[in-house]
Structures are given as C-alpha cells and as structure tokens.
Chain length 246, copies 2
C-alpha cells in the first residue's frame, strides 16, 4: 500500500459548507489529523484513527502526518476554513522543505475549501466584491513592525481588509493597536464588521464604523472586516463593495 | 408561494468542489440564472428553468433575478468560484440598493464557495499561507490609476498578490503594464505563477519568477500569483509562504 497525504478544510461552520471532495477524502482516510476542535466536528468511520492535538503545534502535527503517510497510511490533515489560509497547508510544506528528502516524493494534495473570510463576506453581502487584503494580526511568528507596515499599506491602497487572528487571551492588545493606527489612516465612517463564529451556533455579527467600533469584542473566532472608501451599507443588513468606481 | 434569491458559487473547476449547500440550493431552485459558461456546467432538473446570459451584463442579470424572486420564484444566481469575489453577489446588492425598495425585503442569501484563488493556491501548495492582497486588473469599471496605486501598496507592504482578470481580448495591455511596474518594485527573483483554468481540463500552471515571466501568456482564465519576499519554492513542484518570519 502506498501512503498519501491530503490536506483538507472543513470550512468555518456547518457540514453543508464541506465540498463534495472533502467528504470523499474524509471517507477514504485511514488517519485524520488536526487540532482537537476540528477533529471534534467529525465522527470516525470504522477502522479510522483520529489524532487530535493542541493548537500551536502545527509543525509537529505536520511532521507526524508526513511520517504516517510515508509509512503507507492514507492521511487527511484537516483545518477549519480553507487549508491554505493561515492554516495547515503552509505548515506541511514547511515540514516537507525542512524534513527528510523522501517526503518530497510523497503523494500530497491540497484540497481547497470555504475560508472563514468567504463565509463572513457571504453572511454580510459582498464586502469582498472588489480588491482586498487579508492579514493576520498575530505576532507569534512575525514582528509587529511588519503587521503595522502591512496595515499602513492596505490603508494607503484603499483596500478592503479582512483581518484574521485579531486577538487571543495571550494577545489582547494587538487589535487595539491596529484600530488606533487605522483610525489615523482611514475615515471615521469606514465600515467595520466583527464577524464572529460565522456559520456556528454562537455566530455574532456586529456592524459598525471605525469611530464607534469597540475592538475589545474581537477574539480568536472573530474575523474583522474594514471597508474601503467604496464599501456601502444597505440599511442595517447588508454591506457590499461595488465592482467599480462610478 | 414566497420567492427567494440564493447566490451561489460553483467553484472554478469540477463538481467535487461544489459545497453540499450549493448542491442543495441548485436542487431546490425553480430558476437558475448566470453567465452561459457557468450555466452550461449544469443539467436542468425537471421543471427547472435555466436563464443564461452574456458576460458583462451583470447588473441586468441581477435585476432580472430580483424581479423573478419578487414574483415568487426560487431563484439561484450562479457564479464561477465564490459568488462574493469579483462575481455576482456585489452586482445583486448594487441592484438591490438602486432598485425597487421592496427588493430589500426579499429573502436573499449568499452561499460561500471555493474561489479561484483558493483552488490555484491549493494546486501550488500554500502560496496564500500568509498575508496577501487580491486585486483585479480590469479597468472596465475602475481607473487604471487606482490599479496602479493598489499594485504599489501591495508591493510596498510585501504582500503576496493574487491578481484576477489579468487580461482579456479587449484588454491585452494591462498585465504588461502591471509587470513593468512590479519589476520596479519587487526583486527579480520574486516567485510568479500563472495558474490557468485550475481544476478544468485545460489547466495549465507556469511557475517562474518576475524577471523571466512572460505576461502575454495570461488570459481571462488565468490567476496570477506573485510571491512576497518570504514565499519559497520546493523543487519545481510546490510553493508556499511560511506562517512566520524566522
């Protein structure tokens, strides 16, 4: 038996956001590897082994998955959302590059999924209907100076922004610093959305603007959207960024 | 009977990239509305009416969909990829805002899907594994000066870039102008990918760098990816952007 490694995303919410391909891969996997919270969303099939692990150990998890695949298993590595957006695919390739050279010959496939930003955007209307930037506020793995540089660049380019990892218990401060900076760079009436746990039972959407936004409501399950100068609001329900500037 | 309007994305490629939700919506729709090329990927069910239209008439198509929904039909508006990324969702909300006020009370839902950039990224590894910008080069609906400003901002912020609509028969020049500008702003060895028709039979991937890239190979089915300073290549097969800067 030849092993293989499939990297899939469960989407950010309900099973109906799985792709048909993700369903297939999960049905055919001998081993499923991922962060506990994502593993807990699945039911193991007969003979299938689930390997849950803590957050923040992505590289160890990736190496373990590669070892299992090299030993002949059919391994599915799972992420929430899409596996390529601030998720496991990058960790796996980091492990491939740094690891045993034989890992480069493994049968590895990344399968696209529904990312949290697409789900949040859909829930709100079409805020990402035009040019946008996607960035993580986490400075666990990059210096804050780079986050700041990218916030300045995105604001200067009048991009819509989708901000991942705005805050965590260990990093309560970044989102406040980011908003302080954005308030210097963007108009006070810029549309701001805190889209929390979209598609899940505890989903919460807060639609506000840059002047009135309270960044302390953001947590690790929140995606923050900041409108460009063109982003518009329809009543209290929808926001969208038009396809053009008229 | 009360009408409704569901805005769904078919993904950029095969049916296995549909979400389960998209399958459900298409199965329950009385009327399916979209660009001919996307409509042609589906088989009408018994009693279902397909309304194909030309490209570049998004607003007319959106109004027609809203009228049908207002008349009591269960309407699915389809896009390729995700409906919120340079696609029909923005056109529908533009039509809602400008149209009959009663349209605001319609039951409208946007359903996320697999976007072309996520599929292209998955095919290549994990190029979007860290901060990135997404922009369209089309100046049909926005001035070229804004495209240029955003290219400069993205380059200045050392973002990975995902470039939609790089060229068309009517706009062969933009991608050349964009590359001329990017060559001033980014190192010559920046990774460049032309990801054409990913997931379709005529899929083609060209992995190169900024100095050697030939932008004339880009067409309307091509997504162009430009790496950041951190984006890495593993042999001739994979590219990824690490989760951090070490």
């Amino acid at each position: 038996m030849t092993g293989r490694l499939d990297i899939v995303g469960l989407g950010p919410g309900p099973r109906r956001w799985f792709t048909l391909e993700t369903e297939e891969i999960l049905a055919g996997a001998s081993d499923v590897i991922g962060y506990h919270s994502y593993i807990d969303r699945l039911e193991p099939l007969a003979g299938q082994v689930f390997h849950g692990s803590d957050n923040r150990v992505e590289i160890d998890r990736a190496r373990f998955a590669l070892e299992l695949a090299a030993s002949g298993k059919k391994v599915a590595v799972i992420s929430g959302g899409d596996p390529g957006i601030f998720a496991m695919a990058a960790a796996v390739f980091e492990a491939v590059e740094q690891g045993d050279r034989s890992w480069r010959d493994l049968d590895i496939t990344v399968h696209p999924g529904v990312s949290a930003m697409l789900a949040a955007a859909a829930r709100l209307g079409a805020p990402l209907g035009h040019d946008f930037c996607v960035l993580s506020l986490s400075d666990n793995l990059k210096p804050w100076s780079l986050v700041e540089k990218r916030l300045r660049a995105a604001a200067g380019g009048d991009y819509v922004m989708a901000i991942y990892n705005p805050a965590s218990k260990a990093r309560p401060r970044q989102i406040h610093d980011a908003f302080e900076l954005l308030r210097e760079l963007r108009p006070a009436n810029s549309i701001v959305v805190f889209a929390r746990a979209i598609g899940r039972e505890d989903e919460q959407v807060t639609l506000t603007n840059l002047a009135e936004a309270d960044p302390s409501i953001a947590d690790m399950s929140t995606l923050v959207l900041i409108g460009s100068s063109a982003t518009r609001r329809i009543d209290e329900r929808w926001i969208y960024t038009p396809r053009g500037f008229s």
